[in-house]
Amino acid sequence: MSTTSLPRSLPSATPAAVAAVGADMFATAVADQAVPVERVDWTPPMDGTADDLATVAADPLRRDANALAVSRMLDVQAMLVGVAPASELLGLEKGQFLHAGPPIEWARTSGPLRGALMGAAAFEGLVEDPEDAAALFASGTEVSLEPCHHRSAVGPMAGVVSPSMWMFVLEDPATGRRTYCSLNEGLGKVLRYGAYGPEVLERLRWMRDLLGPLLGEAVAAAGPVDATAILGQMLQMGDEAHNRNRAGTLMLLRDIAPSLVRASRSSEEVAEAFAFMGGNDHFFLNVAMPACKLALDAARDVPGSTMVVAMARNGTDFGIQVSGTGDQWFTGPAQLADGLFLGDYGPDDANPDIGDSAITETAGIGGFAMAAAPAIVRFVGGTVPDALATSRRMREITISENNRWPIPVLDFAGAATGIDVSSVCRTGILPQINTGMAGKVAGVGQVGAGLVTPPASIFPAALAELARRTRDRA
C-alpha cells in the first residue's frame, strides 16, 4: 500500500499546459479557464489492434526498452573502413547469392530480382548466357538465395550480391561491428534494376577489376571516413540520402580524392574512376545504406522494444523486423510506387517496391527527411509544404529524433528516428519511402522513381507478436 516515490508536483499548483485527447468538451472547459491546451487529433487505431496496443503499452519493459534501443542506435558512429570482395568479407562462395528484402524462393521472385540474379550468375561464370541462368535457379541445386540482411549487408533495389562483387565495409569503432554494401553502378540499365545485358556485365567486371581494388586501396590509405557525419552534412545540403545523394557523393570523393590520386594506378584509370563516381549522383547511397544498417543493428534484440530495425523489399514482399521480436520478418505484398516515369514507361511497366534501401527511412532519413530535400517531393507532383508536412508527420510514428541529423528548414529538428510499431497502428500513418522503380520485366532496368509505403497489414502483425511475447513474459 505504501508508495516509494516522492510526489511529483503540488496539487495546488496550476498546470502549465494540458494535453487533451478525446471529447473536445473537456479540452474546451480547461481552455476556458485560461490554461493552454494542446488537442490531439485522435482517430481509432487500425482495425483489430486495440487489445494488442493496450497489452504492449502496459508492458513494463516497453518504455525503457525503446529508450535503450534508440540510444544504442544513435550512439553508433558508422566509419567507412574498407572496400573488398564479398567472398572475402562475407565468406560468400560460388553459387551463393544475396538479395534485397525478406527471404524468397526463386519461384516467387519478381522480374527485376530474376534479372539481377541471372546477370550475377553470368558475371560469376556459372552460365555463359544470362538467359540460361533461369533454369539454374529454378533447379536450386547449385545455387542458394539469402537475404543481404541475414549477412549484415544491405543492397539497393534487387540488392543482388555475388562472391566477386566488391563491397563497402562500415564499422562501429566502439563495438567493432560491421555492415556491408555493394558498390553503386549508376542509373539506367544496371543490374540492381534487373538489367543483365552485355553492358551491365561489362560494367560489373570493370568495377571488380578496377574500381573496387582502387577504392580499397584509397580508403585504406585515407583512413576511416565518417559516414555518419557526412549524412548529417548531406541533410544541410539538399540530400535526403535515398533518392538524392549528390552532396554525399561529392563529400566522399573529397575525402578520398588525394588517396585515389596517389594509388598505384595509371592516371587514366584514376580519371575513369573519378568520372564514374562523379557521374553517378547515387554513388554514396551504397555507403548511406550500410551506415544506417550499422546503427539500426545496434537496436536489435531489446526485449519489449517496439522499434522497427529493418524495412526491406524483395520486389514481391515487403518485410519489417522489430527489435523486440528478434529475426522474425513480418511481410505483406510490396506496393507499387506513385511517381514519375522515364521515357515511355508507365505504371503498367513498374515492378512493385524493391530493395533494402528503405533502411534509410528506417533510420530517419530518405522519405522521413523529405523536408531536407524538397526537390524529391516533385517525384509525386507534390509541393514543398508536402515535404515539410511529411517530415513532421513521420515524427508522429517515431520514438525519438536524431540530433546529429538536423533538418535546417524544420528549425534544425532532428530527423524522426525509431519507427514505433505501436504508433503506426495507433495513427494509421505509414512510413513514407522514397524509391526508384524497376521495370517488372527482367532486363528492363529503371522505369521511374516515386513514393511508396509499406503494406499496412505488416504493422498489426508485428504488434500481435509483440503482444504475444508480452503476455508470455507476464
Binding site: 508536483s9 473537456f26 486495440a50 493496450a54
Partner: protein, 491 residues
C-alpha cells in the same frame, strides 16, 4: 501522319525531377503521343533514342525538348505546354504550410510541454493514450467509460512505480491548482484537499465547503473503482501523498462510493501515518451522509456549520396522494447517498444501480414502489451524452413519473460546474412546472454548485424554485425532505 519535333535549348536548365513532371504534363497535351523534356545527359540521350527520337549533338548542359505528335498542327499547343510546364516547375507552389495537429497524447505533450493529460477516448483506447502521459512523466486524468478493470490496475501500478497519479477512470472531477477538470465546480483557494473516488460526491463536498466559506487547495478524482478490491486504492494512496506533501493543504477528506472494506481499512491505516489529518467520507449502510461528514470536517477546521441554503417554499404533499418516492439523478454518488438514506426509513428501493442485486430495476425504469434512477450510469449513456450534458432522457422520464398516481414525491439532483450544460434550469424548470401541472406532486431538488460556477448557483436554484420545486444545496437534506413527504401520507 506522325510528326516528330526535337529541339535543343542550350543553357536552359531545370533539375531532373522537375523535368520528369514537365514531360508528364506535356505528354498529357492533346495531340501529343510522346514527350520527353530532359537535360541531354548520356542517360537521357539513351532514353530519348530508346523512344525513337533522333537527336542532334548536344551537351549535358543543354535541354532537349522532344515531342511526337499526331500531326504538325499540334506543335504550337505542344510547345506552349512545354513552356507552361517549365514555368510552373520554376514557380513552385503557392500553397501555405500548415502544421498538422498531434495524433497521439505523446506527441501533444512533446509539442506543448504539458504537465497533465486529459483522456476521454473510448475505453478500449484509454490505456494507450494514458501510457503516453506516464511515459512522458506527467499525471493523467481519464474520463473514458468502460475501461477494463485489469487495464486500470495495470496503468495505476505503473504510475505508482513512477510516482505519478492516474485520476479516473469513470470519475470526472478534479480541481488542480484552481483549474477544474471535467465536471468540476469553481471554488476559492483554501486549505482543504479532497481525494474523490466519486465524481458527484466530490462536487457535493465542493459545494458545501464553498457555502461554508471554506476554500479548497485541490480535489483529486481517483476513479470510482479505486477503493475496490481489484484496484486496492492505488491512486487514493498516491493522491494522499501528494496532498500531504503540499504545504497549502491542512486537512484532507477522502470521499468514495461504498468501498471494499479491507481496502478502506488499509487506506485509513496508511492515512493515519501521514502528517496531514485525513477524514474519510465513505458512503455505506449505516455510515454518515456526505453533508454530515462535511459538517464534521468544518468542526475539524473550527468553522461554524452554516444553515445549508434552500430556495423556494416548502413542498407539500399532493392532494392526489401516492406513496412512492421517485428519485431521478444524474449523479451516481448522489443517487447512492439518497438510496442509503431512504432505505433506512422506507425499506427496499429499486434502482438501475441497486444497493443489492435483487433490487435491480428493469429497462422500463418504472416499476411499483420506491425507485431511484441514476441516468448517468453506463447502461443509460450508451449512444448518448451524460445527462449532465444532455438532459433529454431524464426530462422525458420526469413526465412519466409525475403522471404515475403512485408517485408521492420526486427527488432530483442538478449538478453545476465546468463540463455541465450551460443552463440546466432552462430545460428542467419548465419540465418541473409541466409535471406539477399534471399532478401537484412535490418536487425536491438538490442543486449542487457554487456561486462562482458558470451557470450561477442562485440563478439556477431560483429558477427551479420559481417552477415550484423545493431546492436544497445538500443532497442529504433534499432526500430527507422527500422521505418526509413520502411518508407523511403513509403514516
Amino acid at each position: 501522319m506522325t510528326v516528330e519535333h526535337v529541339e535543343i535549348r542550350p543553357g536552359a536548365y531545370a533539375d531532373s525531377v522537375a523535368l520528369l513532371q514537365v514531360s508528364r504534363d506535356v505528354a498529357a497535351t492533346p495531340g501529343v503521343t510522346a514527350a520527353q523534356v530532359a537535360m541531354a545527359t548520356e542517360l537521357n540521350v539513351e532514353v530519348l533514342q530508346g523512344m525513337g527520337f533522333t537527336l542532334p549533338a548536344a551537351s549535358p548542359n543543354d535541354m532537349v525538348v522532344a515531342v511526337r505528335l499526331d500531326d504538325e498542327s499540334a506543335l504550337p499547343a505542344a510547345l506552349a505546354a512545354v513552356d507552361a510546364a517549365l514555368a510552373a516547375a520554376r514557380k513552385g507552389s503557392s500553397g501555405g504550410e500548415v502544421t498538422a495537429p498531434p495524433r497521439t497524447t505523446g506527441s501533444a505533450l512533446r509539442r506543448a510541454g504539458g504537465d497533465l493529460a486529459l483522456v476521454s477516448v473510448p475505453g478500449a483506447s484509454a490505456l494507450v493514450e494514458a501510457m503516453d502521459a506516464l511515459d512522458a512523466g506527467v499525471d493523467v486524468m481519464i474520463f473514458s467509460d468502460n475501461v477494463p478493470v485489469e487495464q486500470e490496475l495495470a496503468m495505476k501500478r505503473i504510475a505508482r512505480d513512477r510516482g505519478l497519479l492516474v485520476m479516473g477512470p469513470d470519475c470526472g472531477t478534479a480541481v488542480v491548482g484552481g483549474v477544474g477538470l471535467g465536471f468540476a465546480n469553481t471554488v476559492s483557494p483554501g486549505s482543504v484537499g479532497i481525494v474523490a473516488a466519486s465524481g458527484t460526491g466530490c462536487q457535493q463536498i465542493l459545494a458545501l465547503l464553498d457555502a461554508a466559506g471554506v476554500g479548497v487547495a485541490a480535489a483529486l478524482g481517483v476513479g470510482g473503482r479505486d477503493l475496490s478490491a481489484a484496484i486496492g486504492g492505488i491512486s487514493t494512496t498516491t493522491a494522499l501523498d501528494r496532498l500531504d506533501a503540499d504545504p497549502s493543504v491542512e486537512q484532507v477528506v477522502v470521499v468514495s462510493k461504498p468501498p471494499a472494506a479491507e481496502v478502506a481499512a488499509a487506506v485509513e491505516k496508511y492515512a493515519a501515518g501521514l502528517t496531514t489529518p485525513v477524514r474519510f467520507a465513505l458512503l455505506g449502510a449505516g455510515q454518515p451522509d456526505l453533508t454530515t461528514q462535511v459538517e464534521a470536517l468544518l468542526g475539524d477546521l473550527g468553522v461554524a456549520v452554516p444553515a445549508w441554503p434552500t430556495w423556494g417554499t416548502p413542498a407539500v404533499r399532493s392532494a392526489s396522494g401516492g406513496t412512492a418516492l421517485r428519485g431521478l439523478f444524474v449523479g451516481g454518488t448522489l443517487c447512492d447517498e439518497a438510496m442509503l438514506l431512504a432505505a433506512e426509513t422506507l425499506g427496499p428501493i429499486r434502482s438501475n444501480i441497486p444497493l443489492s442485486p435483487e433490487l435491480a430495476l428493469d429497462s422500463s425504469l418504472l416499476e411499483p414502489g420506491h425507485l431511484m434512477i441514476d441516468f448517468g450510469d453506463d447502461g443509460l449513456t450508451r449512444g448518448r451524452a451524460h445527462p449532465m450534458i444532455d438532459p433529454t432522457l431524464r426530462l422525458e422520464h420526469l413526465a412519466k413519473v409525475a403522471a404515475d398516481p403512485e408517485t408521492a414525491v420526486i427527488v432530483m439532483d442538478v449538478v453545476l460546474g465546468h463540463g455541465a450544460e450551460d443552463d440546466p434550469a432552462a430545460g428542467l424548470a419548465p419540465a418541473i412546472a409541466a409535471a406539477r401541472a399534471i399532478r401537484d406532486v412535490p418536487v425536491v431538488v438538490a442543486c449542487v454548485g457554487t456561486s462562482a460556477d458558470p451557470q450561477g448557483l442562485a440563478r439556477q436554484a431560483e429558477a427551479l424554485a420559481a417552477a415550484g420545486a423545493e431546492v436544497h444545496l445538500s443532497n442529504a437534506a433534499a432526500t430527507r425532505r422527500a422521505i418526509a413527504l413520502a411518508t407523511g401520507g403513509a403514516r
